[in-house]
Subunit: 241 residues, 2 copies
DNA sequence: GTCGAAATTATGTATATACATATTAAGACG
DNA sequence: CGTCTTAATATGTATATACATAATTTCGAC
């Protein structure tokens, strides 16, 4: 009945056994799962091993542990979902169409007030503004307008972004430890409409991303998709560890 | 010297000490963090305690552990972000405007093929179709079109959704353990345009959610917002355990 | 020098044990 | 009957120990 690959270690097996019972609904929310000493007997192992599995399930939010009372399957209260952010190349290739991109423009300049606003920069400094178009087959898939903070990423000044698009280049060259995405709908203005080969005023999906490294803004980018060509998927899936 | 709130347990303190060094950028990606035996000496504790902290950091994706070589700060490759899904009441009240909603229609029917498609139902069965409008002040904020699978939630048949809107009611009455959100842009059709008091064809943000309980579809709902009135925010934040 | 065996090293997993702590149940007492 | 104390119980944390495993390095045979 269980055709999955069995996890190598015992505590992982215990964890996955239990989480499967919960996720399949065999143990409904509120159900008391066996005590540590019962699982210890069932799996013929030490309490530490069982404890490791249960602690991880608790940290993942699947169960709640109460001293003296035992562990219980939690109500999945979560209002947070995991949003998969894919590389554009990956997104395009998932449709089966060949991917390519075009660097439309690249301009180094002292940061304007608007640039600093978009990047979240306090001080003045040089920025690099890059615009690209990404294609699925022959049709434009996405317009990219990007600002790169040159005081955080001076190496970008030597990159033309003709062979490699900004995102893969940045991922390879600059570490970052925080990112924020804002997602909204927008009517295409003339600029977007001509870039995406759609009529002005038609609906677009806008994904704006800002990334930081050690509190310092690295880059700000706005991806604009024609409404028909893209959707985002976010899942709430109780984590498995 | 450490003015933060001290975590209660030793392994948590080790974990938070290290993750702070990483997130603040003191230890950059690629940096080798001290060996377990070095941390053992530094914190004057057993290897198991250090191991617990490091294992959790590894599982959270902050570090990578390599046998014989040690543990290293990982490149934050993650392309997954946490999307906050708020209740509409919360969203509206965050703008400072008073919230209210209006139940437009409520209809019980045998599921059509389209209903089953939307809900992800295999078999036929009764569904409840509910339509609402949510307001921010006097202006329409969001249109909600929902299907409820009555074979999974029979109690819904006795609820009129006049006093309480479907989402809070469902959260209080039905457990669920999986959810999927699809986010896209759309042009308002006549129906949406009149519901939101905008002109047909103007851009809208669509959030479609489906939830399951123990593999069984519970409800499918489509929230439609005028482009100006709403945006979604997703963050990538390295988890702290 | 090159190849391959053996030692070294850091992590991965598991055990038995100990004591702490939160929570509930049972009992004593006014 | 209610309250206070005490015991019982499940989890929380930590230790010392042991052996397994993966990845290097060392070093000897050729």
């Amino acid at each position: 009945m269980n055709t999955r690959a069995e996890p190598a270690s015992l505590h992982q097996r215990i964890l996955s056994d239990i989480s499967e019972k919960i996720l399949s609904g065999v143990w409904a929310p509120g159900h008391r799962i066996p005590f540590e000493h019962e699982l210890t007997a069932e799996y013929n192992c030490s309490r530490m091993t069982v404890n490791k599995a249960l602690s991880q399930l608790a940290k993942a939010g699947l169960i709640e542990r109460r001293r003296r009372s035992g562990s219980f399957v939690r109500q999945p209260h979560s209002q947070a979902a995991i949003l998969e952010i894919h590389d554009i190349r990956t997104e395009v290739e998932a449709t089966g169409l060949p991917y390519h991109f075009e660097r439309v423009s690249r301009l180094k300049r002292r940061s304007s007030a608007e640039d600093r606003e978009l990047l979240g920069l306090d001080a003045a400094g040089a920025v690099l503004a890059v615009e690209c178009r990404h294609f699925a087959g022959k049709r434009p898939f996405c317009q990219e307008k990007r600002l790169i903070n040159l005081s955080a990423v001076p190496e970008a000044e030597d990159e033309e972004f003709l062979e490699i698009s900004p995102n893969p280049w940045l991922v390879g060259h600059v570490p970052w430890n925080a990112a924020e995405h804002r997602i909204r709908a927008m009517a295409a203005d003339e600029d977007v409409a001509s870039a995406l080969d759609i009529t002005a005023g038609s609906p677009c999906l806008v994904v704006e991303r800002r990334t930081w490294n050690a509190e310092r803004p690295v880059t700000q980018v706005r991806f604009i998709y024609a409404a028909e060509s893209h959707e985002l998927v976010a899942r709430f899936a109780p984590s498995q560890g």
